[in-house]
Amino acid sequence: MDRIFYPKSIVVVGVSESPKNLGRNIVENLLRFGFQGELNLVGKDGSELHGKPIYRSIDDVPGVPDLAVLLIPAKAILSCLEDCGRKGIQRAVVESGGFSEYSDDAENLERDIRQVAAKYGLRFVGPNCISVMNLDNGLVLPFVLMEPEITRKGGVSLISQSGGVLVNSVNLFSCENLGFSKFVSIGNKLNLDENDFLEYLDGDENTRIIGMYLESISNGRRLVSLAQKIRKPVVVLKSNRFPASNEVAKFHTAALAQDDRVCNAAFKQAGIHRVDTLADMITYTKVFRMPLPQGPNLGVIGRSGGQNVISADAVTSRGFQMLPFSDATLESARKRSRAGVIRMTNPLDLGDIFDLDFYVDVLESVLRDSRMHGVLLQHGYGGPEERETTYKMIESVKELSFRYQKPVILTIITSREDWFELRNASDFPVFPEAGPALEALAAALRHYRRIEGMARDN
C-alpha cells in the first residue's frame, strides 16, 4: 500500500498535449501540490508536456516506476496492465470508466483484467475512480483539477466508493477548515476494496479518524472483523439502502443490494459509526477531533435563554444529562453577573454578560469539576465589534478542552459575512447548533466506552 500512497516514482498513462486531455489534469495536480517523486508521462501521440517527454509506450519509460496511473479507454486497459506487469510495475490506479457500472458486457473484460493482475501480482485501485490524494507528499491523482489553497493537512482520511462524493468532501472539509491526510476513491473495487484501505489507514500514523462512503460492501465479514480491532473512530456513510436508490447505485458503481437492517447490526457489532448524510459525516469528524467524553454529564452554558432550552432538549434526548453546577462554578458566575438576574441552574444563561473572557472563566470552572464530562457552550454575535474577541475565545476554548481532556461543543451563530471567516480563524470545530453535534457526541461516548472495554479485555 505504501507504493500506492508514497510512490517514489510514477508513470501517468493517457497524457497528451491537447487542452482537452484529462490526463493533463493529473500532471497539473501533481505539480500544483508539489509532488517530489519522479514523474513519467505516456501517451500514444508522444510529444512533451511541462518540459517532460511523453513516451509512446510504457516500455520506453526508464526504470520501473512504483505506481502506474491509467486514464485510457476501457478496452485498452487490459493490454496496458499487461505492459505494466511485464515491466515489473506492481501497483496501478485505473481511473477509466466504462466497466460493469456502464454495461453488463464488461464482466468478461473485468474478469480478464483480474487474471492479468493475478498473473503479475499487480494490485490496483479502481477502475472507474477519481483515485488517490495524499496531502503528505502531494500525490494528487484525480483527473479533475484540485485547488491546493482549499486543502489543509490534518488527521482525517476518507475512503469513497464515489469520486463525486470524494470531490464534494474536499470542498465540505474546506468550508469547515478540516484538514485531511489521504482520500481514496475506490470505484468498482475490482482488486483493492474498502477493507484493504481500511486496514492500511488503521496503521497509517497520519490518520486519526477514518471516514468511508460506501454503496455496497465487498466482504462484510472481513469489514466487521477488521473494524472490531480498530481503535480509531470509523465513520461510515452507507447509502443504497432502499430498492429505489439501488437502481441508481447499480448503474453507478455496480453495487448490489443488501438488507439494510443487517448492515446496521453488523456496523453496531463492529463499532462502526453509521451516518446518513455528508453533513453528519462532517459533524462526526469535527466531534471526533476533540477529546472523547468519558461519561454522560454535560454543563450547558449559553448566551441565549431560548438556545439553552433547545440545547437542554438536545442533551437529554441523546442520553446525556445536566448535573447541577458546583458551588465554585455558581460562585464565579454570581460575581460577574451585572444585574444579578442569572438563574443558577444547568443550563446557565449568561445573557446579561457581554465579556467573553467571563464565558471562558465559567467554562474552565465547569471543566475543572471532576463530575462533568464535557460542555456545550453556545454563543452568538452579529457585528464586527465582537469578531476579534470571539476568535480569541475560540482559541481559549480549544486550549481548555485539550488541557482538561474534555470535549467542548462550541456553537456559534453569526452574520453571513463572518460565517466562514470564523471557521478559518481556528482549527477548533465550531457548530451551528447543538442537536447534530450531540448526536455525534453520543457516538463519541459509545466509542470511548468501546475503547475502554477493549483495554479491559486485553
Partner: protein, 227 residues
C-alpha cells in the same frame, strides 16, 4: 455425528429443501433450544400413549415437510381436552392430509400470551444473522425485529432485546412475569451457533416463540436447507 446433523443429512438425501416441524424441533433441541414436548404418532395407539405421556390439553398438528402453513389449511387443532377429541382431531387431520403426512404431531399446549419470533437468515455479505422480535401475527404487522451477526455474545443478545420498539413485552407487565432474559439470550446465541456449524441450514423461523411464564419455548419452527 450429532442428531442434528443426522436429521439434516437424511432430509438432504431425500432431496428435500425443508425439514418437517418434528425434525426442525429436534435440530433445535439438539442445540439446547427449548421446544414443546411432543411426539410424532402414526396411529391411534401411539396417539393414546403420547397423550398419556404429555397430558391434556394438547395440540395436534399434521406433520409433513410439504406443509408449511398448517393453520391456513386447518391442520392444527388447539386445546384438545380429552381422548374423544384427540381421536376426532387425529382422524380429521389424517383424512385432510390424504396420505402425504409423515404423521400427526401431538404436543403440549403452551399457555402464554406473549408471542415472540426468533430466527436465522444468511446475508450475502455478512453471513449468518440471528433475528429477534415480536412474534405471531405482529411479526408481519409491526415488523419489529432486530438482527445481529453470528457468533453472538451475551451482550449482543441482550442488546437485541433492548433494541425492539416493543421491548416492554419482556418486562413484568399485567401480572405476567418478566421474561428470563438469560434464557432468551442463550437461545439467540445457540441459533447463531447453528448458522455457523450447520452450513446446510439456510434459514430458521421460530414463530411463535412463546413465553411460558418467564421461559421461552419454541412452539412452531421451520428450517429450510440450502441447495
Amino acid at each position: 455425528m450429532s442428531k442434528a446433523k443426522d436429521i439434516i443429512e437424511f432430509a438432504l438425501k431425500e432431496g428435500r429443501k425443508v425439514l418437517s416441524e418434528w425434525e426442525a424441533k429436534q435440530v433445535l433441541a439438539d442445540y439446547g433450544i427449548p421446544v414443546t414436548r411432543e411426539f410424532l404418532v402414526k396411529d391411534e395407539k401411539e396417539l393414546s400413549s403420547a397423550a398419556e405421556g404429555i397430558g391434556y390439553p394438547l395440540v395436534l398438528k399434521g406433520c409433513s415437510p410439504e406443509v408449511a402453513h398448517k393453520t391456513e389449511q386447518q391442520l392444527v387443532w388447539v386445546d384438545v381436552r380429552n381422548e374423544g377429541e384427540a381421536v376426532d382431531a387425529f382422524q380429521n387431520i389424517m383424512n385432510k392430509m390424504n396420505g402425504t403426512a409423515s404423521g400427526v404431531l401431538v404436543q403440549e399446549l403452551i399457555k402464554g400470551r406473549r408471542e415472540l419470533v426468533a430466527g436465522l437468515t444468511r446475508d450475502a455479505q455478512f453471513g449468518p444473522c440471528v433475528m429477534f422480535g415480536l412474534g405471531g401475527i405482529f411479526t408481519e404487522i409491526l415488523d419489529d425485529v432486530s438482527f445481529r451477526l453470528a457468533p453472538l455474545n451475551q451482550g449482543d443478545a441482550l442488546e437485541m432485546m433492548r433494541e425492539i420498539r416493543g421491548r416492554k413485552i419482556l418486562d413484568s407487565v399485567r401480572g405476567m412475569e418478566a421474561a428470563d432474559r438469560e434464557a432468551l439470550a442463550q437461545l439467540l446465541i445457540n441459533l447463531g451457533r447453528i448458522g455457523l456449524e450447520e452450513p446446510s441450514v439456510n434459514e430458521i423461523d421460530i414463530n411463535p416463540l412463546i413465553l411460558s411464564g418467564a421461559k421461552p419455548v419454541a412452539v412452531d419452527a421451520l428450517i429450510s436447507l440450502a441447495d
